[in-house]
């Protein structure tokens, strides 16, 4: 039997993690959604049990999203990562993709777009 797919949403912006979480729960699809407020918390949760997909913000107190991305790519190379950021420059985009991110999304985004990217990765 296939293991249930797991997704982790990481952002210190609680409104965003909560609304994204609700949105995926509402879909009633067969995957687990977990949230974390910092890079450190995310690392711990990944260490407990790996995820198929991590969606993370870049700018967070403590470990940044880019650091988290590099760490994930070292320990769990199969985990896909989507970077989301409120920065407006392409510098971070290039860096994110170079570090192994699958997608780069600018905040605020269209919920439909995020869902589509998630679907592509998890199904």
């Amino acid at each position: 039997m296939d293991k249930r797919k797991r997704m982790l949403i990481v952002d210190d912006e609680e409104t965003l993690t909560f609304s994204l979480y609700q949105s995926f729960i509402m879909e009633k699809r067969d995957y687990e959604v977990v949230t974390a407020a910092t890079g450190e918390e995310a690392s711990e949760k990944i260490a407990e049990s790996p995820f198929d997909l991590v969606i993370t913000d870049i700018s967070m107190p403590g470990m940044s999203g880019l650091e988290l991305l590099s760490k994930i790519k070292q320990t769990h190379p199969l985990t896909e990562v989507i970077i989301m950021t409120a920065y407006g420059s392409d510098d971070k985009k290039e860096e994110s993709l170079a570090r192994g991110a699958r997608h780069y999304v600018e905040k605020p985004f269209e919920i439909k777009k995020i869902k589509q990217l998630v679907m592509e990765i998890l199904q």
Binding site: L16, S19, G88, S89, F109
Partner: protein, 405 residues
């Protein structure tokens, strides 16, 4: 026989006398030689003096600094060529006239002249504004020393000055860049901080929208909410553009192509407003080394401003040329693009502010066009200048690099 002898004896005696130096003939000759020597010496000294005079005159007249001397009535006693060129007067017109006439601010002139003449103060690099014959205002920096005569008595004051127009324009440009860079960092920070909660609000709103059935008026309300969030986000994106335009992706490109391309984009708009577009391209213009998308963005901004400045039709002339330019202490050959309109011009009091973010005179403008443009040009290693006359029009000049630095 004896008579004949006597006569010969006289002749011999005369001749002997003639040779002993006391005779009138000999002394005349000596005097002549003496005079000739003196004349030669005098001629030599005059020649030397003339050379010294020419040398000093050459220095005083050819030196790039303006030199003016005044007497204790503060009347001009001498003014050199450089000073006359700046003031746009002739020597005769200025000599024996009050120095004060050349100052823009007469009050300030009184204070300075009082300090020079009554208080015997000296100035070093003092900045004042000078008014030329044609009414131009030239910023100068001057220093003063006392003029003494042979007996070391004060005779007046020597004022030497430099035209600071270029220096000041360079200084303002640097200040403008610094100000924009700081503002850029601040606005980027603010934009990032606002976009984060905005993302939370938008996602929440969209999730909420999904929870309402179609036709529910609440879904309509939430849709409007999202629309407003997007509008705010667009504004924040402009902030980012201004703050961090993104590193230019440099490549060689023909500036004529960019000028034409942007014209095609805006041609219908120009036609609608009765604006005649003319392009004058220089022959053999080298390719520019820039990010073509960024320069295109600048051209769009400048064309749009020109269009907005011409309510009842007008002319938009784009001219290209090649010239030597000083960029950050470096002289280099650059391509210049002039974008000149026949619009209503920019008020002098707004001139320095037009590059400030959020400064606008348009009712529907955000005020970021020129600040972003000036930043983009700077990032591309170029420079932007503006000249404007109210009622006549405005000319923006872009200087673009042609080679890899």
């Amino acid at each position: 026989m004896s008579k004949q002898f006597e006569s010969k004896k006289e002749t011999v005696s005369f001749l002997n006398k003639s040779y002993d130096g006391n005779s009138p003939l000999i002394s005349q000759r000596a005097n002549y030689e003496n005079l000739e020597n003196q004349y030669k010496k005098l001629a030599d000294r005059t020649k030397t003096l003339e050379q010294v005079y020419k040398f000093h005159k050459g220095i005083v007249q050819n030196i790039s600094a303006g030199i003016i001397t005044i007497d204790f009535n503060a009347d001009i006693t001498f003014i050199n060529t450089s000073a006359l060129l700046v003031a746009e007067y002739t020597f005769k017109e200025l000599v024996n006239t009050p120095l004060k006439n050349l100052f823009v601010d007469k009050e300030e002139a009184n204070v300075i002249i009082d300090a020079l003449i009554n208080k015997r103060s000296m100035f070093e690099s003092k900045e004042v504004n000078l008014q030329t014959r044609t009414g131009k205002i030239i910023p100068i920096g001057f220093s003063s020393t006392f003029l003494k005569n042979q007996n070391s008595a004060y005779e007046g004051v020597i004022i030497s000055f430099r035209d600071l127009t270029n220096l000041i324009s360079f200084r303002t440009q640097i200040e403008r860049m610094d100000r924009l860079a700081t503002l850029g960092e601040v606005s980027a920070g603010i934009a990032h901080e606002i976009r984060n909660p905005l993302a939370g609000i938008k996602t929440s709103a969209q999730v909420l929208e999904e929870s309402f059935g179609p036709g529910d008026f609440r879904a309509e309300l939430v849709k409007r909410l999202v629309k407003e969030i997007d509008r705010s986000n667009e504004l924040l994106k402009k902030f980012f553009n201004f703050a961090r335009p993104g590193k230019p992706k440099f490549d060689y490109t023909q500036v004529e192509m960019l000028v034409d391309g942007v014209y095609l984009l805006l041609a219908s708009k120009m036609k609608k407003k009765n604006i005649i577009f003319t392009k004058i391209f220089a022959d053999d213009l080298p390719e520019v080394y820039v990010d073509e998308n960024q320069i295109e963005q600048v051209l769009i901004n400048l064309y749009m401003n020109a269009i907005d400045a011409m309510h009842d039709g007008g002319k938009l002339v784009v001219r290209t040329s090649q010239m030597e330019q000083k960029i950050k202490e470096d002289r280099q050959t650059m391509v210049r693009v002039d974008i000149e309109d026949s619009g209503f011009g920019i008020d002098t009091k707004n001139m320095e502010r037009i590059f400030n973010p959020f400064f606008t005179t348009k009712s529907d403008g955000v005020g970021l066009g020129l600040s972003i443009s000036s930043r983009l040009i700077e990032e591309n290693g170029g420079k932007m200048e503006v000249q404007s006359t109210v009622g006549k029009g405005t000319k923006f000049s872009l200087y673009l690099p042609i080679q890899v630095k």
